[in-house]
Symmetry: C2
Subunit: 504 residues, 2 copies
C-alpha cells in the first residue's frame, strides 16, 4: 500500500476515533448520564465535533486525497475501479469536498440556531403551540437555503439536502417513485377501510416488562445479534449506535400502554445493528465503515421489523413461546388472530407508530412540505394548515392539535431536512431485497418457521452488509436486485399481505 | 478578565473536554463495554490522549501563559497572589513546563513499553512467575530513569517521580515522616499481637448482594453524595471518576467471600467523589479542577472510609439498620463485637485489604524498593527476595508466592512510580484533618451518632474541597491545620483506637 494512502488512512482513522468517542458520549447522555452532567457534556461534544471537523477538512487531507487519486490512476479510474482502496478514496474525496464547501462560521451558526430551535420545538410541542416554533423554523429554513448555495446548482435545490442522506439520489427520482406509490397506497387503504376491521385489543393488555425484555433479547439473539460485540440499554427514544464494527449497541423502551412496541422496536434496532456488525472488518476506522445511506440502513431495520417480524412464518415459530410468557394476556388468542392484530391498519396521526400500509403516506406529506419550504412556495405560517389538509387528503383524518400534527417530529428543529424520504425509501428497498432473497433462498420461509435466520443473515452479509459505504445506494440496489430503487415490490408485498389479513 | 487569559482558558477548556471524554471512554470500558469493543477503544483513547497532549503543549499555550503571567505582574507576583486567576496560571504553567519537557517520542515509547509490561504482569501474576515480568519491569525502570533526566537535577532522583503525584514534596521529607512512623507502627503491632485477638468471623457470612448494595447507597446518600450529579455502577476494581464537577461517578464490587468489603470500598470511593463534587464551580474545565494531589485525595477517601466509617459513633447510628437487613448473619453480634470485628488487625500479604494498623507498612516497603530500583542500588532480579525479606521484617510474614507478594500490584507495570507513598500520606493527612475538624466542630461525634454528616461535609468543602488544585498539598495542609504533613496525629489516632479495640 502506498505511503500516502497510509497517511490518509491514519488521519481519517483519527477522525473516526473522534466521531466514535462523540457517539459514546451521546449514548451515555441517553442511557446513564446523571442530569448534572449535561452542561459539561455539551462542551465535550462540541470540542470533539470541532476537532473532527478541523482534522477532516485540513489542507493536508486534501493534498493526500489528490496525491492518492493520482497514484490510483486519476479520478476517472477511481470511479470505475472496484477495489476497496479506490472506494475509500472516492468516498473520502466526496466527504472532504462536502465538508470543505461549508464554512466553519456556518457550522457554528447552524449549531446555535438548531439548539435554540430544538428547545423551542420542545416547548411548542408541550404546549401544542406552533407559534412558539415558527420563528425558529423560519431561521432553520433560511439556513437550509443558505447551505444549498454552497454547492453547485442542482436540478432542484432539494437535491442538495437529499444527497446528504441518500448520496446520488435526486428529488425527481424520489418523486417519480412516490407519485404512483401514493395512488397505489391510497387505493389499498380505501379497500382496507371498507373491509371487516381487525381486533388488536389483545396487544394492549398488561404485559410484564421483564418478560417482554427477555423475549426481545431472545429474538435479537435468534436474528444473529452478537452480544459479545454489543449490548442493549433502556432509553426514552430507541436508537442504534456504533463505536466499532465490534461494538454496536442497541437501545429499547417499554411503554405500558403499548407493550408490544418494545418488541418491534427492538427488531428494528437489531436490523440496524446487524448491518453495522456485518461490515467488512477491514473497513474499521475508515470512511467505508457504517451503512451506505439512510435509506439502505432503514431497509435493514424495516426488513427485520416488518418483512420478518410481522410475518406469519416468524410467529409460527415464536408465538408458542410468546404465549407461554403471557398466557393470561393472550388467553383465547390464536396465532392467526394475533398475526392480524399486529398487522392492523388504521390511519393515525403519529408517524412513528404508523402501520406498514399508512407509514409512507406520513413521509410523502413531509416530503411535499419540505420541498415547499425549501422552494419558498410554502409560507411557514401556513404550515399547520397545509399539514392538516394533507392528512385529510391522504389519511382522511385531522389532527386535534399541532402536537399531534406538524409539531410531532424533532427533525426540522435539528436541521434534518432531506432525511424523511429515506424512511419510505427504506421500506421500498426492503421489499426489493425480500423478493431477491426469496428467489435466491427458496427455503427461507420454512427456515423462519423453524426459528432459523442463518441463511437470511448470511445472504444479507454477503450481498449488502459487508460493503459498508463502498457503493452508492442506487448502485448497491442495482447490483443486488438488478433494478434501481422502485416501489413495485413494496406494492406487491403490501397488496399480498393485506389481501390475506383483510380478505380483500 | 484579559483577552489573553480568556484565550488560554478556552484552549485549556478544550484540553479538559478531551481528558474528560477519555475518562468516560475508560469508565465505559470498565462498566458496560462489550468485549469486542476493546481494540477500537484503544485507538479512541490513544487519539484523544494524543490530541490533548498536542493541544496542551502547543507553542500558543506557552506564549499565552507568558503573556498572562506578565499581565498579572510576573512570575514572582503569581507565586504570592491568592487570586484564582493567578492560581490558574501558576498551575497551568507548571503543567505546561512538565509536559513540554517530555519528548513526544518518549510518550509513545512509554505507552508501548507499559502496554507490554501490563500484559506481561497479568500473565506473570496469573502464573505467579516473576521471571515473566522481570524483563518488562527492567524496561519500565529504564524509562523512569530516562524520564528523570528531562527535569532539573533534584536532591534525590526519586523527587522527580514523587512530584507528579504530590507536587512540591521531596523524598527526604517523606522519609523524615515515614522513619519514626515505621517504628511507632511496629511497636503498636507488637502490642496488638500479644493481646487477646478479635473475632471477625461474623463478617464472612452469606450476605445478600442486593441488600448490601442498598445499604451502601444509603450510606453514600447520608454522607452527602449527590445522585443527580453522579451514579454508582459495578466493576472489577472500584474507582471514582469525574467528567464534570456535576458528573462524578463511583463504582463498586460485591465479593461473596468478603461481603463487607463493598461497604468500605463504597465509603472510600464516596470520599473521593465528595472531594470532586465540592470543587468551586468556577473551576469547571480549568486546570484548577480535581484534587490538589494524590495524597490529599486519598486523605478524603480514607477519612470517610476509616475515621468515619470504621468508627464507633458511625455504627451507633447505622448498626441497628445494618442488623435489620442482615439479622441471621449478625445474630448474637452486638455493636461492640461488630465494631471490633471491622477493626481487626492482622498482618496480611495484600495491601488493598490491609487494616489501618498494617497498611502503611505495605507502603513503606514499596517506597524503599522503588527508591532502590530508581537509584540502581537494587537489582530487579533481587526484587522478590527483597520484598519477602521486608515483609518478614515489617509484618513477620512471608508470602507463599510472588502473586501474593511482589506481583500483587498493577502500578509498576503502568509506570506509576512515586505513587505508592501518597496512599500513606493520605492516611496521615486524614488524621491531621480529623483533629482540626474535631477542634472546630466539638459536636461532630454526636452528630455522627445521629447519622448527620452535614457539618462534617460543610467543613471539608469550605476548608479543602472548594480549592481544587489551587494550593500545593503542603500549603493546603498548613493552611488548614497549621502544620506541615506529619505522622503525629495518625499515631495518636491509631494508638487511641487500638487501645480501645485491643484493650492495650
Amino acid at each position: 500500500m502506498s505511503e500516502k494512502l497510509n497517511q490518509l488512512k491514519e488521519i481519517l482513522g483519527e477522525v473516526a476515533d473522534l466521531q466514535h468517542a462523540g457517539a459514546l458520549l451521546e449514548w451515555d447522555q441517553q442511557t446513564y448520564m446523571p442530569p448534572g452532567g449535561s452542561e459539561a457534556r455539551g462542551h465535550q461534544l462540541g470540542t470533539l465535533g470541532k476537532l473532527a471537523q478541523l482534522k477532516s477538512t485540513s489542507d493536508e487531507v486534501g493534498r493526500l486525497i489528490e496525491d492518492v487519486t493520482a497514484e490510483l490512476g486519476g479520478a476517472r479510474s477511481l470511479e470505475t475501479s472496484d477495489s476497496d482502496d479506490a472506494a475509500l478514496v472516492r468516498v473520502a474525496a466526496r466527504d472532504y469536498d462536502k465538508a470543505r464547501r461549508v464554512p466553519a462560521e456556518f457550522v457554528v451558526e447552524k449549531a446555535r440556531v438548531t439548539t435554540n430551535a430544538f428547545n423551542a420545538w420542545g416547548e411548542a410541542r408541550g404546549k401544542s403551540d406552533f407559534s412558539i416554533f415558527r420563528p425558529h423554523l423560519e431561521k432553520v429554513i433560511d439556513l437550509m437555503r443558505k447551505y444549498i448555495t454552497f454547492f453547485p446548482p442542482a436540478e432542484h435545490p432539494y437535491d442538495t439536502l437529499l444527497d446528504d442522506y441518500e448520496p446520488g439520489m435526486t428529488t425527481g427520482e424520489v418523486q417519480a417513485i412516490f407519485n404512483p406509490l401514493r395512488q397505489d397506497q391510497v387505493k389499498l387503504l380505501k379497500a382496507i377501510a371498507s373491509s371487516k376491521q381487525v381486533d388488536s385489543s389483545p396487544l394492549y393488555g398488561r404485559y410484564n416488562e421483564k418478560k417482554m425484555e427477555q423475549f426481545c433479547r431472545g429474538v435479537a439473539t435468534k436474528f444473529g445479534y452478537e452480544w459479545a460485540n454489543g449490548r442493549m440499554d433502556r432509553v426514552l427514544h430507541p436508537f442504534e449506535t456504533t463505536f466499532s464494527i465490534k461494538d454496536v449497541r442497541i437501545t429499547s423502551r417499554f411503554v405500558k400502554t403499548n407493550p408490544t412496541m418494545m418488541l418491534f422496536s427492538t427488531m428494528h434496532e437489531t436490523g440496524h445493528a446487524l448491518y453495522e456488525m456485518g461490515v467488512k472488518p477491514d473497513y474499521e476506522r475508515t470512511p467505508l465503515m457504517h451503512g451506505a445511506s439512510s435509506g439502505i440502513h432503514e431497509s435493514q431495520s424495516r426488513l427485520w421489523e416488518n418483512l420478518v417480524g410481522r410475518s406469519l412464518p416468524f410467529w409460527e415459530y415464536f408465538y408458542p413461546h410468546f404465549k407461554k410468557l403471557f398466557p393470561a394476556q393472550l388467553d383465547g388468542v390464536g396465532l392467526k388472530k394475533f398475526y392480524k392484530a399486529i398487522n392492523k391498519v388504521e390511519p393515525s396521526f403519529i408517524r412513528i407508530i404508523a402501520d406498514e400500509a399508512t407509514y409512507n403516506m406520513h413521509i410523502m406529506l413531509r416530503l411535499e412540505l419540505e420541498i415547499g419550504m425549501v422552494e419558498g412556495s410554502l409560507r411557514i405560517q401556513d404550515l399547520p394548515e397545509m399539514w392538516n389538509a394533507k392528512m385529510r387528503e391522504y389519511l382522511g383524518i385531522t389532527p386535534e392539535n399541532d402536537a399531534m400534527g406538524v409539531l410531532q417530529d424533532v427533525h426540522w428543529s435539528l436541521g434534518l431536512m432531506g432525511y424523511f424520504p429515506t424512511y419510505a425509501l427504506g421500506n421500498l428497498i426492503s421489499a426489493q431485497l425480500w423478493e431477491r432473497l426469496n428467489a435466491d433462498l427458496p427455503g427461507l420461509s420454512d427456515e423462519i418457521t423453524r426459528g432459523r435466520f442463518d441463511s437470511l443473515l448470511g445472504w444479507l452479509r454477503a450481498n449488502l452488509h459487508m460493503y459498508g459505504r463502498k457503493y452508492d445506494p442506487q448502485e448497491l440496489v442495482r447490483r443486488i436486485t438488478g433494478s434501481k430503487i422502485n416501489a413495485e415490490a413494496y406494492v406487491r408485498y403490501l397488496t399480498n399481505k393485506y389481501s390475506e389479513v383483510y380478505g380483500l
